[in-house]
C-alpha cells in the first residue's frame, strides 16, 4: 500500500490531499484543546464525567468500533476471500442488539450505583472479587497493546502515504498526535474527536459507495462480471468455505460482548432513559460501515476481473487503488482522512482502556489505590503508547498476529464473566475466574503455538472461536459446580441493578 500510494498519487493532486489532512488534524487539535480545559479529575479522564448525550455516544461508539480494518483491511479481505470476509461485519445488527439487551442498561446503572470507571471494575463489583477484576485487566492490557500496535502501524502507513515521511516517522508522528489529545483530555477529548471523526467516516462511506457502484456499472453488472470468472467469490461463503465464514459470524457476534472500548462507553451516558433510541442510531451508523466494507472489495474484484484495474500485489491495496482509479481527488482526500479518523478513534479508546487497567484495576487487585489517578492515567497512557508504537515499528508480521488475537482475548476473557454474570444471579466468582483464566491461557498459548506453526488447526477454525466457546462453557460449568456460593457473592445494590 505504501509503495503504491507513493508511486501512484499524481503530484498535482497530492497538495489537495495534504491540505485536507492538515485541516483534519487542525480540527482535532481544536477539539482536544477544548476538552483538555474541561478535564479536571479522573472521572472526566476515564468516563467523560458521565455526562455524554445519546447522539454523541452513538457516533463515538461507531467511530471506536470501526478501526482502520474497516476501511483498509476489511475491503482487502473481501477482495481476497470474497463474501466470507463480510461475515466479520455482517453480524453488526445482531451484536448491537445483543449489547443493548444484555449490557447497555445494566452497565449504565452499575456505573451510576458504584461510580465505576472501567469494565474490569464491573466484574470486580459483580462478584465482589478484586482477583477477577485484576485478571480481566491483565487480559485487556495484553490485548490493548496488540490492537494499538496494529492500528498505529496502519496510521503510520497512511501518514507516510499522504505526507511522504518514512514509515517509522509516520508511526511516531501518528502516535504523538493521538497522545497529544489523549493524555491531555483523556476519554473526554477522545469522545468529542470521535464525533468529528465519525462524521468524517460517515460522509466518506456514503461517497465511496456511490462512486463504487458507478465505477462498477451497477450491482447486477458487477455480479455478472465476477460470476463469469470466479464462481465461488460471490457465493454466500466466498472462497473460504462455510466453516470460516460461520466462525467469523460466531466470534464477531457473541464476542462483541467482551469489547471494552465499546462497552465502557455505556458508563458515559448522562441519562439512561436515552438508551431508548440507542439501537436505532447505532443501526444507521452500522449500515454505512457495512456498505463501504462490502462495496470496495467487491467492486475492485470486478474492475480487476474486467481488466480495468491491474491485479493487486497486496490485498490492502484495494481501498487506495479504488480511490485512485474511480474517485475524485477531493473524495480520496476525505477518505484518507476517514481512515486516519477511524484508526485514531480506536487507538484513543484502547489507550484509555489500557491506562485504566494499569491505573485503577490492577492496583485494586492488590488492595491498593493510587494517590493521583488522573496523573497516573496520563503517565500510563504515554507508556502504553510508546510500547505499542515500538511494537508496531519493530515487529513486522507479529503485529498482525497481535491484532488478530486481541479481539479473541477480549471476547474470551470479558464476555462470559461480564455479560452473562450481570444477567444470571447463579454465576459465581469461581466461574468468572475460571473463564477468564481459560480465555487468557487458551488464546495466548494457542495463538503463540499457531503463530510459530507448532499446531495447525483445521481450515476455518481459529483460536479465537475455540477460546470463546471453551471459556463460555467453563463459566457455566464452574458456576454450576460452585452454585452454593452464588447468593453470598452478590451485593444487594448490584442485585438491584440486575433486577432493574
Amino acid at each position: 500500500m505504501i509503495a503504491l500510494l507513493q508511486a501512484s498519487l499524481p503530484r498535482m493532486t497530492q497538495p489537495l490531499i495534504v491540505t485536507i489532512a492538515l485541516l483534519y488534524f487542525a480540527v482535532v487539535a481544536v477539539i482536544a484543546t477544548w476538552a483538555t480545559r474541561r478535564t479536571k479529575n479522573e472521572r472526566d479522564f476515564f468516563v467523560a464525567g458521565a455526562g455524554v448525550g445519546l447522539w454523541t455516544l452513538a457516533i463515538a461508539k461507531m467511530a471506536a468500533s470501526l478501526s482502520g480494518f474497516s476501511f483498509v483491511g476489511g475491503p482487502g479481505l473481501v477482495y481476497t476471500i470474497g463474501l466470507a470476509g463480510v461475515f466479520i461485519i455482517l453480524p453488526g445488527a445482531l451484536s448491537n442488539a445483543l449489547g443493548a439487551w444484555v449490557l447497555a442498561k445494566k452497565m449504565r446503572l452499575l456505573g451510576e450505583t458504584r461510580g465505576l470507571l472501567t469494565v474490569p471494575a464491573a466484574i470486580g463489583a459483580r462478584y465482589r472479587s478484586p482477583a477477577a477484576q485484576g485478571l480481566a485487566a491483565v487480559g485487556i492490557l495484553i490485548a490493548v497493546i496488540g490492537y494499538m500496535a496494529t492500528n498505529l502501524l496502519a496510521l503510520g502507513i497512511v501518514i507516510e502515504a499522504i505526507f511522504g515521511t518514512s514509515l517509522a516517522a509516520g508511526i511516531w508522528i501518528g502516535t504523538a498526535v493521538i497522545l497529544a489529545y489523549s493524555v491531555a483530555g483523556g476519554i473526554l477529548a477522545g469522545i468529542y474527536t470521535d464525533v468529528f471523526q465519525g462524521s468524517v467516516m460517515a460522509v466518506a462511506s456514503l461517497m465511496v459507495v456511490a462512486f463504487a457502484l458507478k465505477a462498477g456499472g451497477g450491482l447486477t453488472h458487477i455480479s455478472q462480471t465476477i460470476m463469469q470468472a470466479d464462481a465461488k467469490f460471490l457465493g454466500p461463503w466466498g472462497n473460504a468455505g462455510p466453516i470460516t465464514a460461520l466462525s467469523f459470524f460466531f466470534v464477531f457476534s457473541v464476542g462483541s460482548l467482551g469489547q471494552p472500548n465499546v462497552i465502557h462507553k455505556f458508563y458515559m451516558l448522562k441519562n439512561p432513559r436515552q438508551l431508548k433510541w440507542y439501537l436505532l442510531l447505532m443501526s444507521v451508523a452500522l449500515l454505512m460501515a457495512q456498505l463501504i466494507y462490502i462495496a470496495i472489495g467487491v467492486v475492485v474484484k470486478a474492475l480487476v476481473t474486467q481488466g480495468s484495474l491491474a491485479p493487486l500485489a497486496k490485498a490492502d491495496q484495494a481501498t487506495p487503488m479504488f480511490l485512485l482509479h474511480a474517485a475524485p481527488v477531493l473524495v480520496a482526500g476525505l477518505v484518507f482522512s476517514g481512515v486516519a479518523a477511524a484508526i485514531m478513534a480506536t487507538v484513543n479508546s484502547f489507550m484509555n482502556a489500557g491506562a485504566a487497567a494499569l491505573t485503577l484495576d490492577i492496583p485494586t487487585a492488590f488492595g491498593r489505590k493510587l494517590s493521583d489517578e488522573l496523573l497516573w492515567g496520563r503517565i500510563t497512557t504515554i507508556v502504553l503508547a510508546i510500547i505499542a508504537a515500538g511494537v508496531a515499528q519493530v515487529s513486522g508480521t507479529l503485529v498482525a498476529f497481535l491484532g488478530i488475537f486481541g479481539w479473541g482475548l477480549f471476547a474470551s476473557t470479558i464476555a462470559p464473566a461480564l455479560a452473562i454474570g450481570l444477567n444470571w444471579e447463579g454465576a459465581t466468582k469461581a466461574g468468572a475466574i475460571a473463564s477468564i483464566c481459560t480465555g487468557l491461557g487458551l488464546t495466548l498459548v494457542g495463538g503463540t503455538l499457531g503463530y510459530f506453526k507448532i499446531i495447525k488447526l483445521p481450515t476455518g477454525v481459529d483460536v479465537a472461536s475455540l477460546s470463546l466457546i471453551t471459556s463460555l462453557l467453563v463459566f457455566f460449568a464452574v458456576s454450576w459446580i460452585t452454585r452454593r456460593n452464588a447468593a453470598s457473592e452478590l451485593d444487594a445494590d448490584i442485585q438491584l441493578v440486575m433486577e432493574a
Partner: protein, 161 residues
C-alpha cells in the same frame, strides 16, 4: 423458572456450536453437519442471550418472546436455506436484487432484516420492559435508602468500638 429455561437454551446452543467445531476436526475435513451446527447454535446463542437480558421480574414481554423466537427461526432459516440450496453462482446464475440468490438470502436475513426489526422492538418495549421513569426513580430511591442504612450501620459499629 423462565430464566433457568433460557439459560438452558444458551448452554444448549453453545454445546451445538462446540459440536460443530468438533466436527471440523474430523479426519478428511469438516463433516457435512459442522456448518449447520455452528450456524444454528450461534443464532440460538444470540437470541437466547438477548432473551436472558430481556427478563424482568421473571417474565419477558410477549412481543419480545415473538421477536426473539421469530428472529431465531428467520436467521437460522436463512443460513439453512443457503447451506441447503445447490451452489449456483457461476456464469448465468440466478440473481436476486443484483446479487447471487443464496448470498442475498444470507445478507438480507442476517444483516438487513435485523437492522429493521431489533431497533423497533427495543424502542417500542423500552418503557414497559426495560426502563421507565418510575423504574429509574424506584431504583434510585432504593439505592439511596440502602446507602443510608449502610452509613448508619457503619456509624453504629464505630460507636460500639
Amino acid at each position: 423458572m423462565l430464566k433457568s429455561s433460557i439459560l438452558g437454551l444458551v448452554v444448549l446452543s453453545l454445546i451445538v456450536v462446540g459440536t460443530g467445531y468438533a466436527g471440523s476436526f474430523a479426519p478428511g475435513g469438516p463433516t457435512a453437519w459442522a456448518p449447520w451446527c455452528i450456524s444454528t447454535g450461534t443464532c440460538g446463542a444470540l437470541m437466547s442471550l438477548m432473551a436472558l437480558g430481556a427478563v424482568r421480574r421473571g417474565r419477558i414481554a410477549p412481543v419480545l418472546q415473538w421477536v426473539f423466537a421469530g428472529m431465531f427461526l428467520w436467521c437460522g432459516g436463512c443460513f439453512a436455506v443457503a447451506l441447503a440450496l445447490p451452489a449456483n453462482e457461476g456464469a448465468g446464475g440466478t440473481l436476486l436484487f443484483g446479487f447471487p440468490l443464496r448470498s442475498t438470502i444470507v445478507l438480507l436475513g442476517v444483516a438487513v432484516v435485523p437492522i429493521l426489526v431489533f431497533p423497533l422492538a427495543w424502542a417500542l418495549t423500552f418503557d414497559s420492559s426495560m426502563l421507565s421513569e418510575d423504574d429509574l426513580r424506584r431504583l434510585r430511591e432504593a439505592q439511596a435508602a440502602m446507602a443510608l442504612g449502610n452509613n448508619a450501620g457503619g456509624r453504629a459499629d464505630e460507636g460500639s468500638k
